[in-house]
Symmetry: C2
Subunit: 222 residues, 2 copies
C-alpha cells in the first residue's frame, strides 16, 4: 500500500477567508467536484459515518476524504484500509480548518478528478462553524450520548448545518435523550436543515444519508 500522505497546512490571512472560500467553490463547480464539510464533537462518529456513507456510494461515484486533525493519522489510516483515497491534514494546533488550509489540502490532494470530497473537520462544535471552507454543503453530526441540549449551547454549528445527522441511535435506550426536546432546540436555531437518524454501528439510516448526499450532489452539479 502507498505511503499515507500527511500534510501540514497554514492558517493564512484571516480576512481573506471568505474570498478564498468563494474561489474554492468556483473551482470545484468548474471541476464538477462536490466538497462536503463534516463537522462534529470529538467522538461523535464522523469517521464511522463516512465509512458507511462511502460504502453506499462508491459504486456510483469517485470519492476522496481529507482527514483534518490536530495530530495523529488514525482516521486517514482507517480510510486507506477501507480502500478510500485519502490524505491526513494536520492543522498545526488550530481548532478548525479554514479556506486557506482547505485550498492547500485540495492542491496537495490533486483531487480535481473526484466526484465527491468529504472534508472531515477537527472534532469541535465551536470553531469549525466559524470558518467557511468553500464547501458545497455543511454536514453536522451529533451523537445521542452528547445529549439533546446541544443546539442550545452551540448555536452557530446548528445554524450553519444543511443537514444534521443524529448518530449512535442504537444506544438510545441507555441515554436520557429526548427527541422532542432536541427537535425543539434544533428548530429554534435552524428551521430548514434536514434531520437524519442513523447508527454507523448497525448501518441503520445509511441509505437515507446516502440518498441525501446524492440529491445534494445532483443539485450542486445542476
Amino acid at each position: 500500500m502507498a505511503d499515507l500522505k500527511v500534510i501540514n497546512v497554514n492558517i493564512g490571512v484571516y480576512d481573506k477567508n471568505n474570498t478564498i472560500a468563494e474561489e474554492i467553490r468556483v473551482r470545484n463547480k468548474m471541476n464538477r467536484t462536490f466538497l462536503a464539510n463534516i463537522m462534529a464533537s470529538p467522538g461523535a462518529g464522523k469517521t464511522s459515518v463516512l465509512l458507511r456513507t462511502i460504502e453506499a456510494l462508491r459504486n456510483d461515484y469517485s470519492i476522496g476524504v481529507m482527514e483534518a486533525d490536530i495530530d495523529a493519522t488514525v482516521d486517514a489510516e482507517k480510510m486507506r484500509s477501507a480502500g478510500v483515497r485519502s490524505i491526513q491534514v494536520h492543522t498545526g494546533g488550530e481548532c478548525a480548518m479554514n479556506a486557506n488550509m482547505t485550498k492547500e489540502a485540495l492542491d496537495e490532494f490533486s483531487a480535481d478528478d473526484l466526484d465527491i470530497i468529504f472534508l472531515e473537520n477537527v472534532g469541535n462544535l465551536v470553531c469549525p462553524a466559524e470558518e467557511d471552507v468553500g464547501s458545497a454543503v455543511n454536514i453536522e453530526i451529533l451523537s445521542i450520548p452528547e445529549g439533546d441540549d446541544k443546539p442550545l449551547k452551540y448555536p452557530l454549528m446548528f445554524e450553519k448545518a444543511d443537514v444534521v445527522i443524529l448518530n449512535k441511535c442504537d444506544v438510545l435506550p441507555y441515554f436520557d435523550f429526548d427527541h422532542d426536546t432536541f427537535r425543539k432546540y434544533l428548530r429554534d436555531r435552524n428551521d430548514s436543515c434536514d434531520l437524519i437518524q442513523i447508527s454507523a454501528k448497525t448501518g441503520d439510516g445509511t441509505d437515507e444519508l446516502a440518498a441525501w448526499i446524492e440529491r445534494a450532489y445532483e443539485a450542486w452539479r445542476a
Copy 2:
C-alpha cells in the same frame, strides 16, 4: 429563588494571559480558594459529574460553580436547582475561557469566601487546553462513547490534565472502548496524571473523585 446571574466576559489582551493567570493563583491562594478548571468535549458529562462531586463534598466545603458557555443558561440553571451557588458566563463566541475572562467572572461572582470554585469550561477538546485560566488544577473528563483514541487526536488536552475522569462507564458494554488502548495513548501524552473511572448516572466512582479533589485541595492550601 434569586435571579440567575449571567455575565458576558471579554477576551482581553492575549499576551498578558499568563500574567493574569498567575495573579489569579496568587489571589486565590491568599483567599484560600481552590479553583478547578473542568474541560471536556460537548456532552461528556461535565455538569453531571460536577453535581455528583458537589453532592459528595458540600457538607465539608463551601462550593461555587462558574458555568462557561457560548450561549444558553441550562447548566447554571441545573446548578441553581441543586442549590449550588453559580453564575453563567457567556464567552461571546470564544471557544474557551482565558485568564482575563476568568478574572472578570471571579470578580462578578464575589466568591472569595468559597473553599472550592469549579469552572466548567466551554465544551471543546482543543481551545481550553491552550489557555491558562489561573486554576489550581486541570480536570479533563472523557466519556466512553467518545472512543479510546482521543489522547492521540487531542494531545495538548491530555498533556495539561492533572487528572483524567473517564465518565459514562455504565455504558461500556455498548461501545468499542478498549481500556488498554486508551491507557497506552494516555500515557504517551501524560505519564503522571491520575485516572479515575466513574458513572455520573449511577454514581459509581464519585467517592474516588471526591477524595481526589479533597487531596488536591489540601495540597493547594498547605
